[in-house]
Amino acid sequence: MIHLRQIVSVTMLNLKNLPSRLGPSLVIVAGMAAAIGVLMAILSLAAGYAELQRRTGDPGRAIILPATADTEGAGAISRDALGDIMAAPGIDRDAKGASLADPEYVSILLANRRPAGRAPGLATLRGMGRKGLVVRPELKIVAGRMFRLGARELIVGIALQPEFRGFDVGDKVIMQDGLWPIVGSFTTGGDILEGQIIGDAAVLMSAAKRNAFNSVIVRLDGPSGLQTLQRALAARPRLGVRAERQSEYYERTSQDTAGFFHAVAYAVGGIMALGALFGALNTMYSAVGARTCEIATLRALGFGGMAVAVSVIAESVLLALVGALIGIGLAWALFNGQGYAFGEVLFHLAVSPALVAVGLAWALAVALLGGILPAIRAARLPVVDALRAT
């Protein structure tokens, strides 16, 4: 108990003295702010990207792809196979018994970015069928109207419009054999489709002279729906298709990119943190140096080495956390919610609570590492010599 009281009183004394060591303290604060700010900024890419994929993948849905295709872009499902696939058990049905499945078609087109003069980019063009809105009920028209089935019309996601020119409602897009009007814009509550262009799959495929769909999106019939569906498809190997839970599909296909963002963030953040660590060590050693007389006096009065050491570490932790919070705040103010285009995927950067926890944990680790050696030195100061040091 006496130990605890000693620790508290020495730490409080030390923190009250902090303003007199403002310059050196700023080194830790600025260093941590810069390191954690950079870490947060790059991690916000990974978090935003992961969040987009998470929102797109609905565990109540499955995507059916050819067994040989890893992604929907590589998929080709012929019209012949479609009837059998849609009739498979495990797929949810509406009141009339029609299966809640929608074959989709996916393609990529080149488009001009905003503002004029920027290099062109890629945009995903997705074709849906008559069950599209039932399978994807999150799709809501916010301006104009839905495309009509069988018509050469397109609707555009609200995340795509600020990124590319020529995709406002009323604009016409150059398509195969003519111009197609954009009749509406839509939101999906922030999933991947919001950065895409959508039209009638059958019309798009006839324009593209293609005869194969890329995938079939289905609503699953209850929790065991996926298993039933997978078993049914596996029992008919001639169809050559497999079903995957949509949430797992997006998790799998985004792994490489998310991993890449993480690797960059931790490599860059790691080097920054190392720099901040050297700064923290420097500051804490000089803090101990400046307090030599004070520490010796405390020791002479009977305070333990432990209390002195803890006060040093507490100072380092406090300064680092202040710096980290500044860095997190800056990253949040500058980047949170910013739109970003990675290839044809559009998403928003996110400084999420999980990221804040990571940032604070890093700051804590650096502060402990930076405080522990100076703390040991402080605890071991020979009292008699140190008293003479003035």
Binding site: P120, M175, G279
Partner: protein, 386 residues
């Protein structure tokens, strides 16, 4: 130079402080080197782009295509000096891991894309041997092939008239990998490809490469091409070479923004460190500076001492950071994850080192400005009394 012993002595007065400052500078400049080196890579790519070159792509990358008829029509346009035809497919050699992307070129590419590292004799050889290919040394090493070897390539879907998926290429020669083609090059014969693929696809063209007579025309020309072929079965999307290279640089990441942000954060971090270290050092040695001034050192002289004391760990840190960044860059160049993401590794040119030195000096100068000013204004009499 005669100041050097003084600076050296000052630096080693508190060795721990100097070493920690140096190490922090090393960390900051390692990042700085990697970031600015990455910038150098991409600005090099953009600078390499020719102002008089335009590429014409199908508007729909997946299902679209251009035709020989379009090529002939464009070739007759008055702006066009050279026009080349190319196409490609994805296949593999022996094992699906060994991806091969043959780039089929017609003889027009000889002049429309003179950067291609084939000699005139090799171009003639390619024309005379339809199923021959030239590989760069990276690709040849990856596939374990040399000149004279057979190189059967399988495609995912049937891609030949006879319904087969197998293309029996053979290697005509190996050339040195040009740095602009990091992914490697497999150069093949377009006429052979066109003759051999399914009849329904005969005469299709993947991309047209054009050199213009007048280099000022490129942007207007791309607009004209796209307008001409809108509402046709084969709408085009023409882009200038500059825009294509910029696309590589910023479509995936806004490289300049990210690299400048990271570099600035690193410099900001050490700015405080340097400023604090030099301020402390000067504060501890006020009497020493007073003695120097008494001995006749000029104001400029003592200020130089202060600046130099701040600059030495910074400049050495910049040098060491540059060396580490160079080593790291050559390590990460080989990472498959980076190649998958089509991110080029940083190029640590002497220009990058010069920029690093300039910023190191700037940080040292900014950090030491206040203490140096204090020493200049130092009142000798009162300082000596302390």
């Amino acid at each position: 130079m005669r100041y050097f012993p003084l600076i050296w002595a000052a630096l080693w007065r508190k060795p721990l402080r100097t070493i920690l400052t140096f190490l922090a500078a090393v960390a900051a400049f390692t990042l700085f080197g990697l970031a600015i080196g990455l910038n150098a890579t991409y600005s090099g790519m953009i600078a390499r782009a020719r102002a008089d070159r335009v590429y014409i792509n199908p508007h729909f990358l997946e299902f679209g295509f251009l035709t020989r008829a379009q090529r002939d029509r464009i070739a007759r346009m008055t702006e066009v000096r050279e026009i080349g035809v190319s196409d490609f497919f994805l296949g593999y050699y022996r094992d699906p891991k060994n991806e091969v992307v043959p780039w089929f070129l017609d003889q027009g590419m000889r002049r429309a894309y003179p950067e291609l590292p084939l000699t005139p004799a090799q171009w003639d050889q390619l024309q005379a041997n339809p199923s021959g290919v030239f590989l760069d040394d990276h690709t040849a090493a990856r596939l374990g092939l040399k000149a004279g070897d057979n190189m059967p390539v399988l495609t995912a879907a049937p891609s030949r008239q006879d319904g087969s998926r197998l293309w029996p290429f053979h290697v005509l020669g190996v050339f040195e990998n040009p740095p602009w083609a990091r992914g490697g090059l497999t150069l093949a014969n377009y006429d052979y490809y066109d003759r051999t693929r399914p009849l329904a696809q005969a005469g299709h063209v993947g991309q047209l490469t054009i050199l213009l007579k007048d280099r000022g025309d490129a942007a207007a020309f791309t607009d004209r091409i796209d307008r001409t072929f809108a509402s046709s079965p084969n709408p085009t999307f023409a882009v200038t070479d500059k825009a294509t290279e910029q696309n590589g640089a910023i479509a995936r990441f806004n490289i300049p923004l990210v690299t400048q942000g990271v570099s600035a954060a690193g410099l900001f971090m050490i700015l405080f460190l340097i400023a604090n270290a030099i301020a402390q050092s000067v504060r501890e040695r006020v009497a020493e500076f007073a003695v120097l001034k008494t001995l006749g050192f000029s104001d400029a002289g003592v200020m130089t001492l202060v600046f130099a004391e701040a600059a030495v760990p910074c400049l050495l840190g910049a040098l060491a950071g540059f060396a580490i960044a160079t080593a790291l860059a050559s390590k990460i160049a080989g990472l498959s994850a980076l190649q998958k993401m089509a991110v080029a590794p940083p190029t640590l040119t002497l220009g990058v080192l010069a920029i690093a030195f300039a910023f190191a000096a700037l940080v040292a100068f900014a950090g030491a400005a206040m203490p140096a000013w204090r020493i200049r204004r130092l009142d000798i009499a009162s300082a000596l009394r302390r």
